[in-house]
Symmetry: C2
Subunit: 336 residues, 2 copies
C-alpha cells in the first residue's frame, strides 16, 4: 500500500499476475474438484481457497481475487463457456440488435454476488498486513471478446465493429464502463483495498484511438471509483501501450501503472516513475527457465526501479509451466 501511495521502499513488495493458477499443484487439486472453470469462479469457498494458496505458499505481499474478466459480459447476459485448451467462447455482439439484448450495467450487482462473497471471505482469511487486490477487465479488452465471441489475434473483429458501426461500438464501451465501475466498487465494498484494470489488448488499438478507448474509459472508471473510495489505489494495465504508456500515466488518473514485458525499465524509471508507482515487469518465461538468467533479470529490475515507488511483478501472467521453486528463487533474489 505504501508503494502504491508513492513511497520508494528498500525492498519492493511482490505479487504476480496469475499467481493463483495451474502451475501450483494445490490449485490443480481444487480445479479438479470444481466442475467447470466458471463453477470455480462462482463458488466462493473454492475461489477463496485458490486466491489464498500462493500467498500462503510464497508469503507474497498481496492477494489478488481469483475471477475472470469475462464475468462482466456474463453478468450482462452473454452466454459464456470455457473450452479446455482453447479459451473462452461467448455469444457475440456485432450489431445494434445484439447490443439491445444486453442487460443494464446494474446487472453486475446481483449476478456477481458470488464474487463479492469471495472478496469478503478472502479478506476475512488474509493476514491484516496483506492487501487484497480486486480487478476487472478494461472496456476495450472485454469488448474484444464480446464482439468476436472468443480471443482473436490482433482483435480484428473489434476493430472492424469500431470502424463499421462506431455508434454500437461506443454504446458497448459505455455499458462496459458503467458495469465495470459498479463491479469494482462492489468489490471494494466487500473488502478489496486496491483495484486493477486489465486492458490486456490495449496494444491492438490503432494509435490514434488509444486515448479514446484505453485512456478515457480508464480515466472515467478510476475517477468514479476514487470518488466513492478515495483511499483505494487504482492500478492501470494498458498492456502493449508502448509509447502511449506515458500519456496513460499522465491522463488516466490511476495511482500505479503495470508495465508489460516489452517496456524498458530504464525508460519507465525516467518517464513514468516520477509521476506514479510502476508495477512489473519480469519476463514470465524466466519463471519457467530459472537459473542465472532469472536471478540476473530479477536483480536488475529491482535496481532499475529502486529510485521510486515500485511493486515487483511480471510483465504478463504466470504460465502453467512456471515452476514454484523458481518463484522462490526470485523472491530470495528480491528480498535478499
Amino acid at each position: 500500500m505504501r508503494a502504491l501511495r508513492g513511497e520508494a521502499l528498500a525492498v519492493p513488495p511482490v505479487w504476480l499476475m496469475r499467481q493463483a493458477g495451474r502451475y501450483l499443484p494445490e490449485y490443480r487439486a481444487v480445479r479438479a474438484r470444481a466442475g467447470s472453470f466458471l463453477d470455480l469462479c462462482y463458488t466462493p469457498e473454492l475461489a477463496t481457497e485458490v486466491t489464498l494458496q500462493p500467498v500462503r505458499r510464497f508469503g507474497l505481499d498481496a492477494a489478488i481475487l481469483f475471477a475472470d474478466i469475462l464475468l462482466v459480459p456474463h453478468a450482462l447476459g452473454a452466454d459464456l463457456g470455457f473450452v479446455e485448451g482453447e479459451g473462452p467462447r461467448l455469444s457475440t455482439v456485432t450489431s445494434a440488435a445484439d447490443f439491445a439484448r444486453l442487460k443494464p450495467a446494474e446487472a453486475v450487482l446481483g449476478a456477481l454476488r458470488p464474487v463479492y462473497d469471495t472478496v469478503r471471505m478472502v479478506r476475512a482469511a488474509l493476514p491484516a498486513a496483506v492487501p487484497l487486490i480486486g480487478f476487472a477487465g478494461a472496456p476495450w479488452t472485454v469488448a474484444t471478446y464480446m464482439i468476436a465471441g472468443r480471443g482473436t489475434p490482433g482483435q480484428q473483429p473489434a476493430r472492424e465493429l469500431l470502424y463499421r458501426d462506431p455508434a454500437t461500438f461506443d454504446a458497448l464501451i459505455e455499458r462496459l464502463e458503467a458495469a465495470t465501475t459498479a463491479y469494482l466498487i462492489g468489490q471494494i465494498e466487500a473488502g478489496a483495498e486496491v483495484v486493477k484494470l486489465f486492458d490486456s489488448w490495449a496494444g491492438a488499438l490503432p494509435g490514434p484511438l488509444f486515448a479514446r478507448y484505453a485512456i478515457e474509459p480508464a480515466r472515467r472508471i478510476a475517477a468514479a471509483v476514487r470518488a466513492a473510495h478515495p483511499e483505494v489505489p487504482v492500478i492501470g494495465f494498458p498492456r502493449g501501450g508502448g509509447a502511449s504508456y506515458a500519456r496513460f500515466a499522465e491522463g488516466a488518473g490511476v495511482q500505479a501503472v503495470a508495465l508489460d514485458t516489452g517496456v524498458d525499465p530504464a525508460w519507465a524509471a525516467a518517464a513514468l516513475q516520477p509521476r506514479l508507482c510502476v508495477q512489473g515487469n519480469l519476463d514470465p518465461l524466466l519463471l519457467v527457465l530459472g537459473g542465472d538468467a532469472l536471478l540476473d533479470a530479477t536483480r536488475r529490475l529491482v535496481e532499475a526501479f529502486a529510485g521510486g515507488p515500485h511493486v515487483f511483478n511480471l510483465g504478463h501472467g504466470l504460465t502453467p509451466d512456471a515452476r514454484p521453486e523458481h518463484v522462490e528463487a526470485m523472491l530470495r533474489a528480491i528480498r535478499g
Copy 2:
C-alpha cells in the same frame, strides 16, 4: 527520396507494405504459374513481374522488391518450405552444434543471386522517378524463425535460447548481422536505392534487451550499408517497439523509421519526426473495409505528419482480403 532525406512535402509519397500480394488478381495469376512460393521468389522474371504490378496498377511512388525475409536463413543452409495457409517451416537452430552447421555470411552472395537479378530487372523496367526499395529481415526477427523453425506467438523459443544459451544466440545474431549487411549491399549494387530492415517481432523482445538485440544490430547494419553507399537511405521498422521507438530513432542511425499501427501519430510527430522521416501507419484493416472510416483515417494521418518528412504507408502489411478499389480511394484521399 526527398522525404527520406528529410524534406516535408505537400503530398506525401505512398507505398504499401506487401503491396505485391494476394489481394491483386494479377498477383494470384502469376502465383498460380509459379510452383512454390520459393520458386516465385527465386525466378527473377516472375518476381520482377509481381514487384511491378502494384506500381503499374496504382501509380505508387516506390516499388519494393518481392522476396521473403527467410531467404537469408535459406542461404545460410536452413531447410525452408512454406506450408499453404500455415506459414514457413525451417530446420531449427537451438544449439551450438546446429549453429556450427550454418554456412558463413558470404553464402548470401552466391545463393541469393536470383534476388540480385530480380533487383536488376525491376530497376531496368521501372520509370526512373520511381525508387526501388530493397529489404531484409532484422537479425532478431529472422532468428526467431530459425530458432523455432516457424512463426511462433510471443517468439518464446527465441527468448528461451537467448536466456538459456546466450553464447549461441549471440553468435546467431552476429552471423545474421553479417549476412544481412552483405545481402543489402548486394541489393544496392544491383540497383536498390533505399533499403528497409524489417524487425517484425521487435515487440516480443523483453524491454531490457531491446537496445542490445533491436537497436544495436540495426545500427551496425545501417552503418556498414551507409559506409559502402552513403547515398542510400535506410528505413528501420522495429515493429511493436513501443516507447523504445524513440531510442531506436536516436540510436539506430537510420534515415527513416516505419511506424506500426499502434503508434500514435501525434506522439510520433512530436517525438520522432523532428529527427528523421517517419513512415506509416494506417491500419491495414481499413483497406479491407473502405468507406468513410478509411477516408477519415487517411486524411487525419496525412495531417498529423504534414509538418515534417513523411512517407505514407500502412502500420503492417496489406492483407489478402484488402480491396484494390479501397487502395485507389485511399490514394485519392492522399493526393486530392
